[in-house]
């Protein structure tokens, strides 16, 4: 494990955050929503200058969305995952555009696919999907098979051997 990663994890733990190393060069840190801006600014100031990606995970059993800010430190060759959990019934989050202007695009995308509202982002217009009127498609409660069958008019046809596909259950 990289020494700097170890150090960073210790440092973050001292700041009352849940942090743990995930591998030799990667660690994650769980941040409460109201401290996100502070921690991200801190990370940026201490070497993790590059914002790579913003991801979102829909933990439907916990009724929570998890936003993952993926940061990179190219000097140390280390990576940080800053995770923020927000409640699913009130999907709201502060925009991090003041720290990385690049966040604008990712937040716009997350808004489109998960319906999370980013406060302070000026442009959250739909980006990929044309004329989307259903619930955001990457939420776990969105039934994509049913949607597909409904929209594209799937019909079973025994004579041509077209059968309804089986739903795959993930465990």
């Amino acid at each position: 494990m990289l020494e700097s990663v170890e150090k960073k994890v210790e440092e973050l733990k001292r700041m009352n955050l849940e942090a743990k190393a995930l591998g030799d060069w990667q660690f994650e840190v769980l941040v409460p929503r109201e401290r996100t801006a502070e921690i991200l600014a801190y990370m940026k100031a201490t070497g993790y200058k590059t914002f790579i990606h913003l991801a979102c995970v829909d933990w439907i059993d916990d009724q929570e969305f998890e936003l993952v800010y993926n940061l990179e430190n190219y000097d140390e060759k280390a990576q940080a995952l800053v995770k923020v959990r927000i409640p699913r019934n009130k999907p709201e989050m502060e925009s991090m555009m003041s720290i990385w202007g690049l966040c604008q695009v990712y937040e716009r995308e997350i808004h489109e696919f998960f319906g999370i509202n980013f406060i302070g982002n000026p442009n959250l217009k739909p980006f990929f999907l044309d004329e989307w009127l259903d619930i955001p498609p990457l939420r776990k409660d969105f039934d994509t098979l049913a949607f597909s069958q409904e929209l594209f008019e799937f019909k079973e046809d025994e004579s041509h051997g077209i059968k309804a596909p089986k739903r795959i259950e993930y465990k």
């Binding site: 509202n117 044309d130 619930i135 077209i162 596909p165």
Partner: protein, 181 residues
């Protein structure tokens, strides 16, 4: 007059100018088909730069709703007679994207497909075979997709509008949609 038609069909079948709509992985199969290993120019098939010049439209792979719109626009800019070749299982039934909310399943609901090439992806041999098959169909005067499209334009248009110009949610009722502006 029928001899004249046969003659034109004979020439048309031997000079397919192709517009390849490279959406998916199928585009990868075309370079070997064009170059020295398989050389489709033997059959008079050469790639063209714009739909105005092309005779056949090769849809190489899955089509998202967004690219379907462009494909229809492209198809309508081509000059008759024109033919559509559906390429790989994605154009037949959606392929691996069978349950995707944003990838269409059957291309021939929206455009008149004259010939499907099965496979995921089809090999260059299959592509060459399809050209030969299409040539036979054209010579017999059976490949009439463009006429079908004109004749059944309302049906095609309705299908296109159903997926491209949605006015209400597909699954949910409007009040259920929780979506902030």
């Amino acid at each position: 007059m029928s001899e004249w038609k046969d003659l034109t069909n004979f020439f048309r079948g031997r000079s397919f100018w192709m517009l390849h709509y490279c959406t998916g992985c199928g585009a990868m199969e075309l370079p070997p088909t064009m170059t020295s290993r398989w050389d489709m120019e033997r059959f008079g098939v050469i790639p063209m730069a714009t739909p105005r010049q092309a005779d056949i439209l090769l849809v190489t792979g899955y089509l998202s709703l967004k690219s379907l719109k462009r494909l229809i626009y492209t198809y309508e800019q081509m000059h008759a007679p024109k033919w559509v070749l559906g390429f790989g299982s994605c154009t037949i039934n959606g392929g691996v994207y069978w349950d995707s909310y944003n990838v269409i399943e059957r291309l021939d609901k929206y455009l008149p497909v004259d010939l499907y090439i099965a496979g995921c992806m089809p090999r260059p041999e299959a592509i060459l075979d399809s050209f030969k098959k299409l040539r036979e169909l054209v010579e017999k005067g059976e490949a009439k997709g463009y006429e079908k499209y004109v004749k059944n334009y309302e049906w095609y248009k309705a299908n296109q509008d159903r997926v491209l110009k949605r006015t209400k949610p597909v699954l949910q009722k409007p009040e259920e949609v929780t979506r902030s502006a």
